[in-house]
Symmetry: C2
Subunit: 469 residues, 2 copies
């Protein structure tokens, strides 16, 4: 009987547990230790809980608990914190948060799936009207507070995904929303400034106000309630409710204390089989590092799809199989202000910094054939390296979901280190009710080819699999 | 001054002409000879003209004539038929269809862009109520006839793309529609029987009747009007109007007479630079062969996107550049009965015939996260080779356009001869409003991995570009 301890019941942890049980069934005992009352929660959905698009917290559970316990035979210990992991002894100590009761579990393998937590100064969070949004409990508290009529003006600190999606959903409740962000542009780690600017324009028409290029240095208040944020220029901004969305950081403390190697990104170092520096320990999901396939760099990429796949791969390997997770090309997606917004690969500035000779093509085009009503416009930007013709990344936004899918096509090409010619030749298909005969992706490739001149020919000849005479 | 003659003003011909002029401008004279009064017509849109979704024939022109003549400097000779091409002498003869006037044009390069025509017995077409649908003129005549109140029952002969889309649009006018098709399943060259069956079910709810596995051997009538079709079992079926959609064939006669090599598919043989067997002659679009990248076989693939890209590539090469068209993976898409229907790569039976050890995964799944309203269902089928783990093809249908886009993602992978592991790992992104955290594509990959057992590991290790430790 193989004994597997999984620490953390989020997507990655439950995927690992499920995979081990599927492959080994009665030959494995799998115990999941989860601090909260929930497992398999969909954190990506929490912003939509705020605006009641998602009605109950239960809706945010991918599966009910019984799916894991009864159907899959996983032992789930809710409200249970792992306090210590001894790798040499292959055992861990846990504590029941309800009763204070403690215990020891001996394992053959342990899986760190401890996730991440919001970065937010502790002393800001002491106020009862200052919130983060990175758990179902957070979502619950925030919704309860923000729907109150006394809340008129909400300050969102930080304009990453969570900040923007929270702002959008809170504005839908009729609240005035001000976003304060330290960069000059919102979504500055996901979109190039020229694309981010278009999201800002759109957000403004939805009534969102922005204070950009300003950091919040303090939150002030009295009697347990915050009243204003203090900016780095000394200015104060009043608010009734505050959401801190300044990013997240991996929960590596337990692993570090256990002697597991922490990587340069601050997350747990793993190999492509998701094994840590210790043979008996795996790490998956938001607490683990991964690889950027395009650049070969080790990165921290805390996104749900990667987490789930990591769980599948780690589970396979723990069960004696041989699977590996090659990494990501940093595809990211969100929705806000009626727009689908997506990106993949490198940002322009980042690519230049890495030494690529970046050329870009940016276009605004109809998503569908003119004679079929042409659909909403899409803004599409594609980046390539002028020396090799290699695709480097792409970003898109549109009221049409094809913005997401066109980025998915580029992402698939990036996984294969494909060239601009590959994008031009990609046989993605055409039907007038769904795209244009010269799809915006192909038009972007054409624009890039013009900028590349004759250089990418060699790339294309090597890369395509044509056997044509 | 380079003199280029383009025979045929459809998508491929106009793309070739435009590309030559863009690259050479005043250093090239480009003349397009087109039999009809139109250039740059969107044949894919003709079914939607029938139901008046597309209102005027002009809407089906990608660009007005002036775009080509005035803006791009192309000499377009409408209503002009090329009667003869002498390659050694590098000249062609043409005839003005209006006036009967004839002329000679001397060229450095000639481009065969003569397209395709419907396959239909001549003696059926002698009836005034028997139509084909492969030109704007066809669309014009058919709509004029089918909107008449006297038309109650329409017989569509053939259930390929055109037949199905025509049937759908004619049914929308309130006509009873019967489709007669020689195969046991509709769309038999585009979809596997299990997927085609689902389209049939849907079509029936839209009121379409089917007579499958029966060929039409004759059309009978009197006084210039057809009254019924005669089936291969002797049965007769009455109709008021008849649409013959039995496929198309390439217009190769002119090229053949000129001494250009015709390939084994019946279309003009070309190399990947789109040059024919004669140095001075190119061929593009529906009259030219291409290559199936997946199998290496020469195929005939008369679709609009390939035609446009071929024009771009041929035009580049004629202008002295060095471009090539690697071929296609046979991505096809359509819409009917409220469904988006798409496929790419090989059909199951075809793949078996070619010696692949085919495994398939077919699933029905929601297109979006449950807590975001989960979206319409998608039926997705993915095919792979059990020996190598190589992806072979995919088919999908849904009321949601993501059916098309998910196929586009698989098509992109097929272009790179990717494996099931590549599909599993494809970093296509996730946002709950647009897909699910385990996208149906990834679920299909997971199902296939289970069927493949341990075999595909080697493939995945070789194929991915990961540098992770």
């Amino acid at each position: 009987m193989l004994r597997v301890a999984v620490i953390g019941g989020g997507a990655a942890g439950m995927a690992t547990a499920s995979r081990v049980k599927r492959l080994l069934r009665d030959r494995a005992e799998v115990v999941v230790f989860e601090k909260t009352p929930w497992v398999s929660f969909a954190l990506c959905g929490t912003p939509y809980y705020l605006s009641c698009k998602v009605k109950t917290l239960n809706d945010l559970l991918h599966y009910p608990l019984e799916e894991f316990t009864e159907k899959r035979g996983i032992n789930v210990m809710l409200r249970t914190e792992v306090t210590d992991v001894e790798l040499d002894a292959r055992r861990l100590r846990y504590r029941r948060l309800d009763t204070g009761e403690t215990g020891v579990y001996e394992f053959d393998y342990v899986v760190f799936a401890t996730g991440a937590r919001p970065r937010a100064p502790k002393n800001w969070l002491r106020f009862r009207n200052v919130f983060t949004l990175h758990s179902l409990a957070d979502a619950d508290r925030l919704r309860e507070a923000v729907v109150r009529d006394s809340v008129r003006r909400v300050i969102v600190i930080g304009a990453g995904y969570t900040g923007i999606e929270a702002a959008d959903n809170i504005a839908l409740l009729g609240r005035r929303v001000v976003i304060v962000h330290s960069s000059k542009r919102i979504l500055s780690r996901s979109l190039d400034p020229d694309i981010a600017e278009k999201v800002e324009e759109r957000a403004k028409t939805a009534g969102i106000e922005f204070v950009l290029g300003r950091s919040v240095v303090d939150v002030e208040g009295s009697e347990g309630y915050a009243r204003s944020v203090v900016l780095d220029n000394g200015e104060k901004m009043y608010g009734d409710l505050f959401v801190v969305s300044m990013g997240i950081e991996p929960n590596v403390e337990l692993a570090r204390r256990a002697g597991v190697r922490i990587g340069g990104t601050g997350a747990i170092w793993v190999d492509t089989r998701l094994r840590t520096s210790r043979e008996e320990a795996y790490a998956v999901g938001d607490v683990a590092e991964t690889v950027d396939i395009l650049t070969g760099e080790r990165i921290w990429w805390p996104f749900a799809t990667a987490a789930n796949k990591m769980g599948f791969v780690a589970g396979t390997n723990i069960a004696g199989g041989d699977a590996f997770f090659p990494g990501v090309v940093r595809t990211r997606a969100m929705g806000a202000f009626g727009l689908y917004i997506a990106g993949t690969g490198l940002l322009e500035e980042e690519a230049r910094r890495m030494g690529f000779d970046v050329v870009t093509a940016t276009l605004t085009a109809h998503t569908r054939a003119r004679y079929m009503g042409h659909g909403p416009e899409i803004v599409l930007k594609v980046l390539a390296d002028a020396n090799t013709g290699m695709l480097l990344g792409a970003q898109a936004l549109s009221e049409d979901p094809s913005a997401f899918w066109r980025i998915a096509v580029v992402a698939t090409l990036l996984m294969k280190k494909a060239s601009v010619w590959d994008l031009f030749n990609a046989d993605i298909g055409y039907w007038p009710g769904v795209n244009t005969v010269w799809d915006p992706l192909v038009v972007a490739a054409r624009l890039l080819l013009r900028r590349l001149g004759t250089r990418p020919r060699e790339v294309s000849r090597q890369d395509t699999g044509s056997k044509g005479a």
